[in-house]
Symmetry: C2
Subunit: 510 residues, 2 copies
Amino acid sequence: MVEKSKKRNRASICEEEISALLQRYSIKTVLTLLQEVAKVAGEKIDWNAVVQNTATGISSARECQMLWRNLAYGQTLFDQFDNGANPMEDDSDLECELEAFPAPSREASAEATACVKVLIASDCPNNSNLPNNSSIEAPLTINIPSCKNSIASSDSSVLANAVHGTNICIPVYVQKQPLSSGTSGEKRPNSGTSGVNYPPRRKRRGWSTEEDMKLTAAVQKYGERNWANIARGDFEDRKASELSQRWASLRKKQGSSNGGTSSLNSEAQLAAARRAVNMALDMPMSDNWKSTRMGTVGTKPSHQSQKAPALTPNQQLATAGPINSQMSTKRPFMNPIATNSPDSMVKAAAVAAGARIATSADASSLIEATRSQNVVHIITGGSSVMKSSSNVQFMRTAHTKAPISPYSATLPSVSRPAEAQKAQGYSMKPAVQADLVAPTPVEKIPEDRSAPLGNQSKERVEKHQSCASGNALRVDLLSSEVEGKKSSGDICASKEINESPGPNGAVKQV
Amino acid sequence: MVEKSKKRNRASICEEEISALLQRYSIKTVLTLLQEVAKVAGEKIDWNAVVQNTATGISSARECQMLWRNLAYGQTLFDQFDNGANPMEDDSDLECELEAFPAPSREASAEATACVKVLIASDCPNNSNLPNNSSIEAPLTINIPSCKNSIASSDSSVLANAVHGTNICIPVYVQKQPLSSGTSGEKRPNSGTSGVNYPPRRKRRGWSTEEDMKLTAAVQKYGERNWANIARGDFEDRKASELSQRWASLRKKQGSSNGGTSSLNSEAQLAAARRAVNMALDMPMSDNWKSTRMGTVGTKPSHQSQKAPALTPNQQLATAGPINSQMSTKRPFMNPIATNSPDSMVKAAAVAAGARIATSADASSLIEATRSQNVVHIITGGSSVMKSSSNVQFMRTAHTKAPISPYSATLPSVSRPAEAQKAQGYSMKPAVQADLVAPTPVEKIPEDRSAPLGNQSKERVEKHQSCASGNALRVDLLSSEVEGKKSSGDICASKEINESPGPNGAVKQV
DNA sequence: CCGTAGGGCTAGGGTTCC
DNA sequence: TGGAACCCTAGCCCTACG
């Protein structure tokens, strides 16, 4: 009688079976049993206990189980069992997945679902204990069409059915909720057993320094716009919006206070950029190349014609190289002396060597930076603070040692991460990225977390790449006044150039 | 002299090579060449043409090529070639990927990258044509440390370097950009050749009533589908998609304010839900089961103890079933007569059978509905209007044919889509979802576009699932007064229950 | 190419709580 | 009382899909 085969894990259930069920048990019986079963704690169901307290009228635990099994996975109903028969072991339950045949319509599903939810939610059977003060009876009126007419699919027939049908009303008991005073702001009580409280307002939880740092790190890692990713990855109990908000708050604070604490990706990058510029354009040859690094990656791509504009300098000197060189010495050779950090020198050299990406790691970091933030800051010397809106790149540079003119520069096209490897592979035309480090920044670069970054940065970059793959690279400069503490340096001849990065006045000074 | 082996696709480049390069060519020379090469259109580089116009001072096409190859993929520099020597074929370029050794630091990469970007972006060589009106010269000051000191890695030494170094200033030419008016929302000009605009996220700009009316008029004029035309014609600074979206929003609002025009998903769903309720609780057995569908899915999950409360009805009847049944006939058997749509009957049966999800399609549709809107409306007969904020489910039901008492009911936990399959698999306790359709709605369901949906709904649902996976299902009822046109029906004994769904007074009447 | 649907993200503004 | 945390909604953008 009972299918014991646990192997059955897929079956279809059709109207015949339901017909059989409903001809034997009323819907109310069925629902009552389901409710009672649902109330059983734990996984195992003590059918004897169920049947003792059941309101279904079923007196046999075995029958209860049978009915339930039919409900749960379509076990065949049978009608011969002793009233005192013990139920089967739970282990004899099937692992079964019933398939609808044919599938009901989407609307029907939704309809049924919504309906059942209402009923389910009122888990107070109308024949049990009275609704107490915390419960409210709400009538749910149901029209029972007179079912003699067949084929009631059109609206008119539906209406006719309604007219001829009868209405029944079933009480729905629900937990009474305290009226919200609107402004009282009281916390929603965690009413224990009734569960499903409203998405309760979470307890307010301040941000610890640790969390802030974690956030900072995450932003550096993911960029400023990927709050959802950050939230999923590192902040289990903070929402993306909270992260964003907190980040804005942090930025505001640090921006207004002064140089802030940590160098963000953008900031570090931009500070680095300035130093790099310092180095790149006239690197003395007096450096020690020993124990330094050089990384340049170039690959000749098969048929990609991407190119990037190169640089302007024009000075020409030729120097005999010590290695692998049969070249003429057009430039006085200096003994390699370690002047700066090896890394710096190497990178400066890399720039000189063609503004190519040095390593895939570098490429990815660049890409990441580019993707994760559209703002690039190069702040030289000054302690000014600037906040820029998305999609604007700032570079603060100046003529002399304490220059504080911010520029905004649009980044050239950059590959998205997935294409990082590919992007490295240009040799027909040198790639636009490069590596170098200028070892001697004039002053400490003030921290500034700018660079809010659109989540579209990735795609945006991609688009740029496609639409501006030629020489079309633009630098938008923006010079702004110095804010914050007075800069000890002089602002050199930087012009006041206000570039509107967007229609929204995307450039903001904080 | 030239490595022709195309097999070389991986090599390392180190400081020695760079040293060799820089001792022979100045950085400016290098950069100039790179820029010039970058400007070459197409994939192939005509070195003879390059050398004719070069500002590098290099007079040999062969040398140019050699230098470029060194830059691109580290080809060894050599110094013996005729000035008139023809360059090698491009095909002799290597496919090579240079690896940095050792890899530069991340910061160094970023620094170099940003720096180079600035330079690259100003692709107006300072020795070429004057910047025109659309260009702006911005000084980029670069500090050139005096390179005699070695090991300048600490900040202090960096500073010292800066002090002792010299600054040079290179002009950076950039396209002048029109000032943005801030909130004007003007479109960012597509500055043609300069490319790479950043697609800035436009500042959000709410829709004024005037705009809405304008939009309405435009829609009436052009029809609902020609958003592109409308945008071009009347909405300079709105995109077609925005118009479409706004229109949908407007329609939703208006739909809820009165009879509206079209039936929305949520509304249809909820109307269906009511009908389903009508059907479910006392389905007559006089239906024709032929050619109908039944779908129920149940699986016994391994160790999941999720359960859902079942329903209240208590009436018990038993009927002999025609199929597969050896059961006792406790209930009068009626010949199956097709009373309603097959789908409906099937779904009603499904509810009866345990409020389980019928099919995965249904499950997903349910999930979708739940996810996409937190508001469920079941409006019976009345023409009242209600707007609810997220996370509240309303069901309007009543005793009789024109009932208009809205209830708010919290949805039970619902799986998110990814877990839909999993969610189907409960058989230890029946799942909460179910399918059924009541075929005979009493009245036409008024349209109501409610269900504003936060994008957090998903997470909320998820949370519900986790925190209320037991029997904790609650129904919060909310009865509101009828708004809008007078309902022809009577408002039955629905109580006035106002449940505050959230701290924000989420329940709003429109 | 145009439209739509749907998802992601955030600015903005409200509410609650400290 | 103000600010911080929380929350929601509207608006924008993007991608798929038709």
